[in-house]
Assembly symmetry: C2
Homo-oligomer: 202 residues x 2
């Protein structure tokens, strides 16, 4: 066997993630990643077959840092919440890559492992059949949506002047946007999830 690879898959993924973190998702380019590694553009194709596969590597790298073992907590609600918070924390460190989570949520081992973990908690809590389907999908929908929303806040992101203009046509929206300033992403995520969990409890 000839020659050794000068790169590990993790290094490649790390370089891609570095580009995304620094320059944004739009700058995730085969050329940019190659430059990040001081390599020729086409050399990347010795490690991935696609730009799509490169994106998947980024997803796996981020989700790979998450511990999906079910935490030892008194209630199943706390177990679900802890799992979700772990995911949120990992993703929070790389907000620009969130859209990749959505695009590659199929065919991603990390996403599947997270699903399995959540479902095992639900199963242990007595959820089965269609009830479990509904519960699981609701949790996943919330998780996906919340991570998206956190990436670029639809309310708190805008400046105060924009809100003033907004306020004339949409008073409730403007008022809520002001209140939103005092709610941290973590609280928002956690308490929103708590609402859903409360609904699941009844």
């Amino acid at each position: 066997m000839p020659r050794k690879r000068s790169l590990t898959t993790d290094q490649l993924a790390a370089a891609a993630l570095a580009v995304v973190d620094r320059d944004g998702l739009a700058m995730l380019t085969m050329r940019a990643v190659a430059q990040e590694l001081n390599m020729g553009t086409m050399s990347l194709y010795r490690y991935v077959s696609d730009r799509e596969q490169l994106e998947r590597l980024v997803v796996e790298l981020v989700l790979g840092g998450v511990d999906f073992t079910v935490p030892d907590l008194p209630t199943w609600q706390e177990r679900i919440a802890a799992l979700c918070e772990r995911i949120r924390l990992a993703v929070h460190a790389h907000p620009a890559m969130v859209p990749l989570l959505l695009v590659h949520r199929h065919a991603s081992p990390g996403v599947r492992r997270s699903g399995e973990a959540m479902l095992s908690v639900l199963a242990g809590a007595g959820f089965s059949g269609e009830r479990r389907v509904i519960a699981f999908r609701a949790l996943v929908s919330y998780l996906i949506g919340a991570l998206q929303a956190e990436g670029l806040g639809p309310l708190s992101g805008a400046g105060t002047d924009v809100l003033a203009t907004l306020g004339e046509q949409h008073p409730h929206l403007a008022e809520t946007a002001v209140s939103a300033r005092d709610v941290s992403p973590q609280r928002e995520f956690g308490e929103g999830l708590a609402l859903l969990l409360r609904g699941l409890t009844a």
Copy 2:
């Protein structure tokens, strides 16, 4: 004043939406839309400054068909649910454009109108301050996530053989995927939302 425009903004948006519905979001191209209209590619730039703006037109066209007047229903939970279902129905007719909803959820009048409608219901139900922020964001997160998930089912979409392979490593995931076949998107959406609303009620 010289010359009349041969196109309305709606016609342009409709052409773009037709391309998306027929050929998928990836084929939404300035050239493709121009061809759909039997126009030169650059002529489109008399109506939009950007490809981005063209995408926004598509979003507005889809959301423009939604009635955001608060429905006259007994409980505020039913009012919220009805509003969300209207949105789901409109989007359901054009599943390929769902990602555009996410990308342009800021700076979209349609999205803002939907938010204002939901918030007015919440306000009428007695939600105020930070509680309203949490409730609103939770609802929006669920809505966004659920619409995404519906576009391409993460569980039911895969073939049975894939599930079998999956089942060895992820038994709960495989089992839930089987149950998921009997749950229609509408039920899934509605009952998931009901869970969240129940959590909001307490």
